[in-house]
């Protein structure tokens, strides 16, 4: 008995195991191992076995529990190739590989993740941080191969060619992205519509950094930006509180950041990876934050050495809008002598005379332009090319000429009554409104009556309507502005900001109507007769509005403002040249950098070449600078060049923007 005490089974008997025999005829509760295989394993086993068991091929492994973190699946249609999964992977198992076979489109990169399952630890951080929710985890957990190379897998919508059940999915709690934008403070509508005070206040340092922290640095925005700004980089600079570095990065590709930080069409935000599921990073306002917080003396550090004439060649620039200023800036940085001619008494073009004061105040435009002047660009205001100095003279005096004269004439409507003096074009009105805002005009001098209808659905129409609201309130104490457009709400070309802010300022809107006649009685405008617009474009996508005549209305008003597009003014092109310059639909024909065919010395940019917005104008200016440099550099005399100058020159060429793809609104 004493021996038995230390034994594990005290009453062991050699017949003990006999009791198992009672299970012989019972149904097994376990699955026989030989049939639980994935198809891949089963065919592998069959290939290597002497007895080919067909039954094996029907076998399937048991379904895993919900939320299992199994092998990844990635829906390529949804995936945008942002690479955030590769960035976050704690074991460095994910790599982005180039897939040139994917369609190159705005808001997507031609790359997709591959996962090294020799390293993956199945932590699911990649799923939690996925911007599009395309990367998921399946319930598949069995995979075997004798070839180590077979453990590098590219997740697709299916796993091993089969549709599989979804395992781990991210929840609101586990989502690592911050989808909500840090709210931007706006002046209250009742307050702001009494004056031309800037509506958007701008971020404080704390808010800017919080907003910057939302960026995943994927760089998808960059390729949608017409000038391809270093967007993720300057956002990172904000997060690290390196305003100076951010300023240098911004000026590499955009010499009008103060303007663009306020009124850019921000295609970057439309393309933003965060915008797939949430609110885009406020890229435009972050840029503005850098400019607003950069003191004037910090601008001296943008160039490590003062910019001087290195190349003995002179360039004349007609107009001082965004494309002209951009061309002037880069040409000057390349070392040319640059003279800009502006007909009005302020440079800036659309930024000084088109866009309203409450969106972009003068001081912001001046901050940008002052730096362009500071590096030695000569701006001659009150000098109109064509009258004060002719294009022929420019051609003789200068080695190259850049035209950036813009679309500054209002397009008018060809309907009865449109020639009345109280039917006013947007581009005739906006410069006056701007002059009123800066105190150059008096309120009495403005021909603004107590009620108005604005025709147009673009941002400019909203500019007119909101300017009118302000002026009517100043003049009459209350406003009565109605905006009507051909386009209905869902295809309204204006940005959401304008639509929302205009609505807040009590601009009435009647969308989806086509103007037919200006109603005039006793020599005074009484209103606008419209028909309901059924469709704006025909089946081929051409502009060809269809109306329902039975749905006729009259919008009563004392004035009608037309904002249905702008037109160029080519009076300055002399008769001798008219047949040498091809103009198609108001735009001058030229090659990619804006060089006019047959006129090597002549370059164009901005609205008269490509349009339609400020930032594309800036891009045109940069490309033209590149084109002019290629045209002049070799044949001009040069001074000795410093190392820094060579580097700068290389950078300006390297950063010359390519034509950007316009992203669709999500």
């Amino acid at each position: 008995m004493k021996d038995n005490e230390n034994k594990r089974y005290k009453h062991a008997s050699i017949f003990g195991p006999m009791r198992h025999f009672k299970y012989i005829f019972k149904k097994p509760v376990t699955h026989p191992f030989k049939i639980i295989f994935t198809r891949k394993n089963a065919s592998y086993l069959n290939d290597n076995a002497i007895i080919k068991n067909k039954k094996r091929l029907d076998s399937a492994p048991r379904t895993a529990p919900d939320n299992l973190r199994g092998f990844h699946t990635n829906d390529w249609e949804v995936c945008i190739g942002c690479g955030t999964c590769a960035d976050i992977c704690p074991t460095d198992a994910i790599r982005m590989v180039e897939r040139a076979d994917l369609k190159d489109e705005a808001g997507k990169l031609q790359q997709r993740p591959v996962i090294d399952y020799g390293r993956c630890c199945f932590c699911a951080l990649c799923v939690d941080t996925c911007t599009t929710e395309s990367l998921k985890m399946s319930k598949e957990y069995i995979y075997a191969s004798t070839d180590p190379d077979q453990f590098l897998l590219m997740p697709e919508k299916t796993w091993q060619g089969e549709k599989v059940e979804q395992g781990y999915v991210k929840t609101e709690e586990s989502d690592l992205l911050d989808l909500k934008r840090i709210p931007m403070e706006h002046i209250e509508p009742d307050e702001r519509k009494k004056s031309f005070i800037e509506v958007v206040r701008g971020y404080s340092k704390e808010y800017a950094r919080q907003e910057a922290a939302r960026c995943v640095e994927c760089g998808i925005c960059t390729s949608s930006c017409p000038v391809q700004m270093h967007i993720p980089d300057y956002i990172k600079a904000i997060w690290e509180d390196d305003i100076e570095g951010g300023l240098r990065q911004i000026y590499e590709t955009n010499p009008l950041p103060g303007v663009c930080g306020r009124v850019c069409t921000h295609n970057c935000e439309t393309a933003c990876a965060i915008a797939v599921r949430g609110e885009a990073i406020a890229i435009r306002w972050l840029k503005r934050y850098i400019i607003d917080s950069a003191p004037d003396d910090m601008y001296d550090k943008i160039f490590a050495e003062p910019v001087t004439e290195v190349i003995d060649a002179k360039i004349a620039i007609a107009g001082s809008g965004p494309s002209s200023l951009s061309a002037a800036y880069y040409l000057r940085a390349l070392g040319y002598t640059v003279d800009v001619f502006e007909e009005k008494d302020r440079p800036g073009g659309v930024a000084s005379y088109g866009a309203p004061q409450y969106r972009i105040p003068d001081y912001a435009v001046e901050k940008d332009i002052n730096f362009i002047k500071k590096i030695g660009v000569n701006i001659k205001t009150n000098t109109r090319v064509g009258t004060d100095i002719t294009l022929d003279e420019l051609q003789k005096k200068y080695d190259a000429v850049f035209l950036g004269t813009g679309f500054f004439k209002a397009r008018m409507l060809n309907i009865p009554g449109a020639d009345h003096k109280d039917v006013i074009g947007a581009m005739d009105f906006l410069p006056l409104a701007r002059d009123l805002a800066r105190g150059h005009l008096k309120l009495d001098e403005m021909n603004v009556l107590p009620s108005a209808v604005v025709v147009g659905g673009g941002d400019v129409a909203f500019d007119v309507a909101r300017n009118l609201t302000r002026i009517q309130i100043m003049k009459y104490g209350k406003a009565n502005v109605l905006l009507t457009s051909l386009e209905s709400r869902d295809i309204l070309p204006a940005s959401l900001d304008e639509f929302v802010e205009g609505g807040e300022e009590a601009v009435k809107m009647e969308l989806g109507f086509g103007p037919q006649e200006i109603m005039i009685k006793n020599g005074k405008v009484k209103g606008l007769k419209v028909w309901k617009c059924l469709s704006v474009f025909d089946e081929a996508g051409r502009f060809n509005p269809k109306f329902d005549e039975t749905q006729e209305q009259v919008f009563e008003a004392d004035q009608v403002y037309l904002s249905i597009g702008q037109a160029p003014d080519y009076d300055y092109i002399p008769e001798s040249m008219k047949d040498k310059v091809i103009i198609e639909r108001g735009k001058i024909k030229a090659n990619e950098v804006g060089q006019v065919a047959g006129q090597e010395w002549l370059f164009v940019g901005g609205d008269i070449f490509r349009g339609p917005d400020i930032i594309t104008g800036v891009a045109d200016g940069h490309r033209a600078a590149q084109g002019i440099d290629e045209f002049l550099y070799k044949k001009s005399k040069k001074k000795e060049q410093s190392e820094y100058y060579k580097e700068l020159r290389e950078a300006i060429h390297f950063n010359t923007p390519v034509l950007a793809m316009k992203p669709k609104r999500k």
Partner: protein
């Protein structure tokens, strides 16, 4: 103890009347947690076990490197009164020692081994706590500590394989992605202002 009392209220009463609760949180009607002092853990677990919380469901830890603490979490369950009770306590991170609860819950033997393996917490009283359980021949700091660097470990232990480039489809001519990379480097070189 009346019938109107919920299970959670019962536990609250029980725990609070016996030990000093530093913090409590009721997740829902089946889950509640109490933070107590380190030296009261055994005492309160004993009381809970005698009150019916007989099942040791889980024991693990949370690393709080900023506070220099590990937070031990004991989860026990009662089949009569279905409430998971978590007893939490913070212990020193530099020298993490916690007496074993083996005498109270023998089932904690493996949990303590696991906790030692993943966090490095020592459990004197458990003869096997230092034995390896899941990680074989681990030669780094315990992997669930927040200062463990999985990327460096991966790189050291599993050198990047040179896979055949089966998945790459490159474009003819200049690669757009290569240009993006070059631009990024250019932008990076412009940094270095006020930090």
């Amino acid at each position: 103890m009346t019938n109107s009392m919920t299970n959670v209220e019962f536990v609250q009463n029980l725990v609070k009347s016996n030990v000093n609760v530093l913090q409590e949180h009721i997740t829902d009607q089946y889950q509640v947690h109490f933070v107590v002092e380190q030296d009261q853990v055994h005492y309160i677990l004993n009381i809970l076990k005698n009150a019916g919380w007989i099942q040791m469901s889980y024991l693990s830890a949370i690393d709080w490197p900023e506070e220099n603490k590990f937070e031990l979490v004991y989860i026990v369950f009662n089949w009569e009164k279905p409430v998971y009770v978590q007893i939490r306590t913070k212990i020193d991170r530099e020298n993490p020692v916690m007496n074993s609860i083996l005498p109270i819950y023998p089932g904690s033997k493996y949990y303590e081994r696991e906790c030692h393996e993943f966090f490095g917490v020592k459990f004197p009283g458990n003869p096997d706590y230092e034995k390896q359980l899941i990680l074989e021949n681990w030669d780094d700091i315990p992997p669930m500590r927040k200062d463990f660097d999985p990327e460096a470990y991966s790189k050291r232990k599993f050198p990047q394989r040179e896979y055949s480039e089966t998945y790459i489809v490159q474009s003819e001519g200049k690669s757009k992605l290569a240009k993006m990379e070059a631009r990024k480097q250019r932008a990076e070189s412009l940094r270095g202002g006020k930090k």
